[in-house]
Symmetry: C2
Subunit: 305 residues, 2 copies
Amino acid sequence: MRIDTLAIVGVGLIGGSLALALKQQHAVGRVLGVGRSQANLDEALRLGLIDEAVSLEAAARADVVFVATPVAQMPAVFTSLVPHLGPSTLVTDGGSTKQDVIAAARSVFGGRFNQFVAAHPIAGTEKTGAGAAFATLYRDRKVVICADADTPPTAVDRVAAMWQATGALIHRMPAAEHDDVFAAVSHLPHLLAFALVDLLAASARADQYFNYAASGFRDFTRIAAGSPEMWRDISIANRDALRQQLAVYRARLDDFDRWLTTAAGPDVAAIERSYTRASTARRAWQRHIEHGEPMPRLANGGQVE
Amino acid sequence: MRIDTLAIVGVGLIGGSLALALKQQHAVGRVLGVGRSQANLDEALRLGLIDEAVSLEAAARADVVFVATPVAQMPAVFTSLVPHLGPSTLVTDGGSTKQDVIAAARSVFGGRFNQFVAAHPIAGTEKTGAGAAFATLYRDRKVVICADADTPPTAVDRVAAMWQATGALIHRMPAAEHDDVFAAVSHLPHLLAFALVDLLAASARADQYFNYAASGFRDFTRIAAGSPEMWRDISIANRDALRQQLAVYRARLDDFDRWLTTAAGPDVAAIERSYTRASTARRAWQRHIEHGEPMPRLANGGQVE
């Protein structure tokens, strides 16, 4: 696997780390960088992430174009790329949502949609910008590729090989399933954490709340320190799947409100059942991620009481 | 400050650590231990947390009785103590909820309610039992004392002095305010984390969800590995304050559902405002707990939009 010319649109943590990893593996010849901030591009050049800063028009003729901007900017990036797209150029992305990106690519690329492969590397840190990039970001991390029926297998294989060169593990999934899974395990938790911290901060008792918040609160709300712009864009881009998860969650909070106050007193058993299932699953998952123990078959599979 | 005889009811992490800290400071003469598990009492004796395992009846004659059982067991403990209570014995507790414990104490102690002081040490680890106790658990941690109008200042001072001997910082607060604060920053986050993990574990796509859950999910759900029994008891003991916090939170999730789908498209500005306020407050709080920076005056004080 070798890419002669790779263009990175958005040379931050995600794009810059891909460039570094491929360079370290001698899997790329020349790396072009595109970005709106000259200071960030200068830093990317200085750090050796890219070999040259170019325009989107010039990037469109690379062998592979990796679009690593926030998802909300991707339709505009695609629109700028398409008139200049090389005949065998392959465009791929690193966005956290996939149905919206694929829909934009399909609409903008039209008959050349077969030159696009949607993907999502499951990696990141709190840091942003070219200075945050490092070559091992993707080692042993998952990259989910969401191919359409119209996506040529050779294009998928080329994108998969590029990510494998970084040490990543390739997973494939339909885009709708991807968006549901990440709504559940990432986008909804972010919304829930942001919502809690915002409410506490806006309350008359905010000082008291933050004064007595302890380690449980610290962990639960860590993701609420994330980028508001990035999570706004993700929430909106994936709003259909997010609203579905949110609806299930809101219904469960309605259950809890009822369980805490039935006419006959609290429904102790219902609360305990829910807490016990959660605690059992969470502990099993911890052993899974720490020690590689297989996840057990979860009780009640598919049955939400 | 010196306590001749201290009785600990429930010699686990909380009770055992108090005993160890006071012994290390030579602030206690003899420590009696009461518990339902003989194995745990034997361990407490072996580790030197207690000097003798006794009955509740014998414990009731100590100078200070510290009730460190789960809050749901406190009414029964109080009922067993009161017929044998020494004339100058002071009873205090370490429960995570205060209005319910005070109401139980008032009801059971009757005319001797002035021998009771409610308190809540804000400290703990995931571990339980006598073997988890350590002498420095309370150093620089907060202990909230919730005195009633009927609580003699001398009794409050004695309990405060006991906790200060462990290195703890004394805070005082009305019980209703305590319960609201901890509903907001601890009990509600636990319920929210348990609810999410339970729903994911019970869904048909549970395997996929846990397979793709990453570090944000890990932190957000860490508290869902907690003891289901303990958190069931706390949720029920503090259900009024918890339901009030839950109502505000559910209303905010209703807002989010609407913001994601107005007739004119998503309300991008509303989502961004909420995420931005949360992120700003969470980052300021992180600097506060890590570097002691003062919390800024939060925007929108008191105004929930």
